[in-house]
Symmetry: C2
């Protein structure tokens, strides 16, 4: 994987993605805006006049073991596929109780109890995904996950999101917003 | 543990710590300066005119399991003990090869092969320690570790640092600077 890539999601009048809806799953929502720009690297320093900007950075894996990483790498797809005209941005903040757990406790809840990696794998390569960390940046959320998929994978995507929200891991989610987008 | 605390180490003419020496252990050193200020939270936004500033943030544990965390918590000491007039700031950057490893591979090198946690524990409570993460901040280093100890623990501290540098984990360190300080 490449070194940390800075990313900014800027909602406003500009950007390649049209925002279809913004739903508060848990906690406060975000203001509605017509479009979203996905900015990377130097572009993030001066986002266009925005309703809101969420910043994050790609980083190393935190729970995935070697066997899981190899299995994912064999099937996962990258971003920017021409067919993937649907996207979702799901910012999440976890509770302090989650962050106070030890590494083995977080791993057990994440995978052995909640099957987070295994559930995601059921939807590869149809759903492409990039995780951005933002807890250390002092942002309002801990993670920003960006998903891209084709319209014919939309039902599968809903299924995946519903399965994840029904896991023990999600008891530690204290804020979640679900933003759906289309490229036009 | 408290939520992420932003910290800045500012070297220059000001600050509560006198810099005794700065050594390059691997890779480039940092410029010498007479004093170091340890700034926290809002203070980090406007460090005094500085020769250099290293920024980091405290965060959750990444490798420590529950049994290890309990063992550490039972004996470790906090910062700011009046007797702890010696300090060390050791900024480290690891190789891309390290960050490309899966979580189980990094854990195995970190503890099962290198005994990083166990070595540190041998010097508790004499050596107090706070780890700051900075890879996600786009800084030149990945970690800034701050240690405080009394003068009569100085030989033990040297011993600890030497043992850690002799581990398999340290093969993944590509830059390391060792800064020693006294409070006066």
């Amino acid at each position: 994987m490449a070194p940390c890539l800075r990313v900014a999601f800027a909602a406003g009048q500009f950007g390649g993605w049209r925002i279809e809806r913004i739903s508060a799953v848990r906690g406060d929502s975000l203001a509605h805006a017509p479009r979203l720009a996905l900015l990377e690297g130097e572009e993030t320093l001066s986002p266009p006049g925005a309703a809101w900007v969420l910043r994050g950075v790609t980083s190393n894996t935190r729970y995935t073991n070697r066997a899981e990483l190899n299995a994912l790498s064999a099937v996962q797809a990258g971003l920017h596929r021409p067919s993937a005209t649907c996207a979702a941005l799901i910012p999440i903040r976890k509770t302090q109780a989650w962050w106070d757990l030890a590494q083995d406790e977080r791993r057990a809840i994440f995978e052995e109890q909640s099957h987070h990696i295994r559930i995601g794998q059921d939807y590869l390569p149809a759903v492409a995904r990039r995780l951005h960390h933002c807890r250390e940046l002092g942002e309002a959320f801990d993670f920003l996950t960006w998903f891209e998929y084709a319209p014919d994978a939309a039902a599968a995507f809903e299924d995946m999101v519903a399965r994840l929200r029904d896991t023990p891991e999600w008891r530690y989610v204290e804020r979640e917003v679900d933003i759906r987008l289309r490229r036009d």
